[in-house]
Symmetry: C2
Subunit: 214 residues, 2 copies
């Protein structure tokens, strides 16, 4: 038999272990037995703490999403300028990825289930991140356009992270944040300002900026 643990500790351990297992093997690739084994315990124990596999997985998604969001919120709370917010935000994101590797895989690793409830949990996170980004975007453009750009920025973080995570190489999140936020901030500034001569392209004359995405 395994070491006995008080219920609350066991529950925490199960969440920890399940995160690893699901991150590595995906939702379907991981059986409840796998989770139990990884925790050094048998299946019914898992069911004493979580009603179902879904339940366990949702609990994980929530807790993991929460961690990312608070990391970003607290990191950017003390920022003094748009550029500063951008860099600190990316920094928090990449630190989270570097530190909480499995959490990133769980949310964005693609091992999930095509399930409305699961999708919602993930989308809610990205949407909230995007929302926290929106203030950085020039207020004089169409809100729909703003949202598009905000989600594009979230995509930047995801795209840069995924490559490194998939690659398996360790990386310096702070350096990454500088590299990426430099680009992102420059891009953000540009959308609100009239183009300079250097930006224009002789082959595609400047068109008028329309108002809506739809």
């Amino acid at each position: 038999m395994s070491i006995r643990l008080p219920a609350s500790a066991r529950r925490e351990q199960l969440l920890d272990v399940a995160l690893q297992v699901f991150a590595r093997q995906g939702y379907h690739g991981a059986s409840m037995n796998d989770v139990a084994d990884a925790a050094g315990v048998t299946k019914p124990v898992v069911y004493q703490h979580f009603d179902s596999k879904r339940d366990l997985y949702l609990a994980l998604l929530d807790s993991v999403g929460e961690r990312l969001l608070t990391a970003i919120y607290t990191a950017t709370a003390g920022a003094t300028s748009g550029k500063h917010v951008t860099e600190l935000g990316f920094q928090a994101y990449f630190r989270w990825v570097a530190h909480d590797h499995d959490a990133f895989l769980l949310l964005f690793g693609g091992g999930g289930k095509a399930d409305d409830e699961f999708n919602d949990a993930v989308r809610k996170v990205t949407a909230q991140v995007a929302e926290s980004i929106k203030p950085l975007i020039a207020a004089d453009i169409d809100p729909e356009h703003q949202r598009t750009l905000a989600h594009a920025l979230v995509g930047i973080a995801e795209g840069a992270s995924r490559r490194l995570v998939d690659n398996g190489t360790d990386f310096d999140p702070d350096l990454l944040a500088r590299q990426v936020s430099d680009m992102a901030w420059a891009g953000l500034r540009a959308v609100s300002r009239p183009p300079t001569a250097a930006d224009s392209d002789p082959d595609s004359p400047r068109r008028t900026r329309r108002a809506s995405t739809r």
Copy 2:
């Protein structure tokens, strides 16, 4: 019994139908019976054309990835400037998403399986897109940094698309491409040029740019 089709036509139909089914229900959520039913046929027919579920899914990933890549390659072939390439590239991507909705979901919708072979198929696509983007990035920066930015750009397209696809709203891919590529191109230009006074932030003094991500 269903309408009889010649083998090649049936195979094409199965690929078509399977794309829809897998895109909507995910790899695990869709059974081979579902695919067969959707094609108006029974399971053994599917197995006459594909050795296994994996086989079918991989065939789909390949064909779908191929479509995206050629769309981008042909679209950007005639471009005359970096900015132009950027816009045409995004345009091709977003048009692909708008037109081949299910293909996007299959590759990036997260309904996949946490499987090395599947991941490789998807990663190969994003890596190739990133590779085609790399020439746009200032050549005077570290190659690893270049790759990071290239993948970040791919992330932009993915992030912007995912929101719209998940949302279910139709969108104008060309408008989207303009909005996004404006930002992206401005960002790309900035990383190669020394920062202007307007870009600097009094609270975070300019640091020296280091060379590597590792």
